[in-house]
Symmetry: C2
Subunit: 133 residues, 2 copies
């Protein structure tokens, strides 16, 4: 089975990318069984760490992912799977699961800076950092 | 710090994508310190699980990654970071770490099918599967 390495929990992360748009849709985990099911059926199967069971993406929602290409990385511990995505990939109804943007510190408004500072101060109060004054 | 969740080892996987081409370059892990360094410096910092230390991508090779955009997914346990990649992203000298293609079963030649079958038969002999005959 190529040079793919499952971790000590028997899992490998799989990056799912839209084969047409190049948009990264989600990251999910596969165990050996779901990986083989993906290869054999041509549709993505994952292992749910929370439910501890296999799931066939889109089996319930209809938002299936038809596999177009599978690659693995230089050290064999991550998969990249390009898919033809039917409907939205995210269970929230968004196209991609990555719809939350982190505000770069550089473009923060003064209000955001003060809120962040306030967060840090509260955090330091409850969990003091040695050497910080 | 937004709704980002580090796992029980204090890590979060970060998918690194070329902001110009959309190509997925690599997957690496960040701990809270490397995540903050990434935010503060505008260049990617990771946590090496094998060396157990922070590393600033490209510090040695010069193949740095300038951060253009950071997103996190619906359940907050994966980052997607779009970068301006200088030089190749992979330590092998390849543009992306995902240069190994998995041959889909459907496009296997008869020779490959026989080799795969042979692998499965050997595997079944050494580790029999209940109910399989």
């Amino acid at each position: 089975m190529e040079n793919i390495k499952f971790d000590k929990n028997g899992l490998i992360p799989a990056i799912i990318q839209n084969s047409n748009s190049g948009e990264v849709l989600m990251l999910a985990y596969m165990n050996e069984e779901s990986y083989k099911k993906t290869l054999n059926t041509g549709y993505t199967w994952f292992y749910s760490r929370s439910r501890q069971e296999l799931w066939n993406k889109g089996a319930v929602s209809g938002n299936t992912q038809k596999v177009k290409e599978i690659s693995y990385d230089c050290d064999g511990d991550t998969l990249l799977i390009k898919v033809e995505q039917k409907g939205p990939a995210c269970h929230t109804g968004k196209k991609s699961c990555f719809f939350n943007r982190v505000t770069p510190a550089k473009s923060m408004t003064m209000g955001e800076v003060l809120f962040t500072l306030d967060d840090i101060l509260k955090d330091r109060k409850t969990s003091p950092v040695e050497g910080s004054y």
